[in-house]
């Protein structure tokens, strides 16, 4: 099996949310109460699944369903997947899912009183290129109410799922939109202590990505764990 045996770095303090975050009510009965057992990264954690575009075909235009346009504000989302040293993470699978423009998921359990859009499934899958870059087209998801507290609304967001080079780099996150007044009220967003880390979950409006008369562009770069030390290439002097 091909993998690099240099361990991945520990997460920097405050940059990841704590599962014990009672303001987000669903965490109360679901967070472990015992301390996590820190284990060394072995072949199991350092290697990880590989997905090929041949076997897992990309769907990079969520705004189009069999040639029919979804309702809503068309957007282009573009970014790079990098490690903590700024190195691209090439050819990695990125899964995306989101609510429609009205704030409703195409999901049986979503009973929000907002219209479904027959032309919007809300699912996509793309792969990063050699430089770690990805891109997809969608519509801006709507905000929606949820039962966490009185008059609670989730900010507009797109879900992202990434794998990276190893099992230890697995990441599921959410991309938010700039200027959303609901962010300051959202216990999921606020569960990450570090303000800079929260800010990096907010995409940036980008006029370069924006296409005239067609779609607004947003940039969202994603950073996966880097290695504890820079791996040496074979044949080099390691001293």
């Amino acid at each position: 099996m091909s993998y690099i045996d240099t361990p991945f770095r520990e997460y920097a303090a405050g940059t990841q949310p704590d599962n014990d975050s009672p303001a987000y009510k669903s965490t109360i009965l679901r967070h472990p109460t015992r301390k996590l057992v820190k284990i060394p990264q072995t072949v199991t954690e350092l290697s990880g699944p590989r997905f090929s575009a041949e076997r897992f075909p990309p769907t990079d235009n969520l705004a189009l369903n069999n040639g029919k346009e979804a309702q809503g504000e068309r957007i282009i989302v573009e970014g790079r997947v990098l490690d903590e040293d700024g190195r691209p993470v090439p050819h990695t699978m990125v899964e995306i899912w989101q609510a429609n423009a009205a704030g409703r998921y195409n999901h049986a359990r979503d009973q929000h009183d907002a219209p479904l859009d027959p032309e919007f499934s809300g699912i996509g899958r793309v792969f990063t290129d050699e430089a770690g870059a990805y891109r997809f087209i969608s519509i801006k998801p709507g905000a929606y109410p949820w039962g966490n507290h009185a008059n609670a609304w989730r900010p507009n967001h797109i879900h992202f799922s990434l794998f990276g080079p190893g099992y230890a780099t697995r990441l599921i996150t959410q991309m938010y939109f700039p200027g959303d007044p609901l962010l300051a009220l959202d216990p999921i967003f606020l569960a990450t202590a570090d303000a800079g880390a929260r800010e990096r979950l907010v995409s940036k409006f980008d006029l370069e990505i924006t296409q005239p008369n067609w779609a607004l562009g947003y940039r969202f770069d994603i950073v996966l764990r880097g290695r504890q030390a820079t791996p040496m290439e074979d044949g080099h002097d390691h001293r």
């Binding site: 009965l29 679901r30 072995t42 899912w97 999921i188």
Partner: protein, 170 residues
């Protein structure tokens, strides 16, 4: 610094492809086993909206074996995978790790996924496994699946409270 994790939420099933629960679907050969269990919360209630993923470094991945599976828990909190039984793999130093699957739990209410392992009861390597030996007596069995019938292995995962599963920081 890394991008912060966020919950998978209750509507992640948009991603679900049920065929992903069968790691043998591309024709992998070997000892085919069923791996099943339930996921419960701190009140002992089944978690009906969880996403369970498994990853195994053995047997080696190939065109017909990705080593990766994903399954949703059903109305009773149950998940089921079909895969090829893993063999022992190297551990830190000169140690040998007993056959195991890495298991990840994502769910509404989990802001960061939980990592655990699924070992197989009766495997002779369990006794000297470098990871199992880091775990205090009385909690180790939360990682050891039992064979309920030939080829069918079962392990319950409890996120909180009595019998809480051992989860890892990796």
């Amino acid at each position: 610094m890394t991008t912060a994790s966020q919950t998978i939420g209750p509507y992640w099933h948009l991603l679900e492809d049920r065929s992903w629960a069968d790691l043998t679907r591309f024709g992998a050969a070997g000892e085919v086993i069923t791996v099943a269990g339930t996921v419960t919360d701190g009140a002992g209630a089944p978690m009906t909206d969880a996403c369970v993923e498994i990853w195994q470094a053995s047997p080696e991945t190939s065109d017909v074996f990705t080593g990766f599976g994903r399954a949703a828990t059903d109305e009773s909190g149950r998940f089921v995978f079909r895969t090829v039984k893993p063999g022992a793999v190297p551990g830190p130093g000169n140690t040998l790790q007993a056959p195991h699957l890495a298991v990840t739990i994502f769910a509404r209410g989990l802001l960061f996924h939980l990592a655990t392992r699924f070992y197989f009861e009766g495997a002779p390597e369990n006794e000297n496994d470098p990871i199992l030996s880091m775990i205090e007596d009385g909690r180790r069995e939360t990682l050891i699946a039992r064979q309920t019938e030939p080829g069918v292995w079962h392990l319950d995962i409890r996120l909180q409270g009595e019998g809480e599963t051992v989860f890892f920081e990796i």
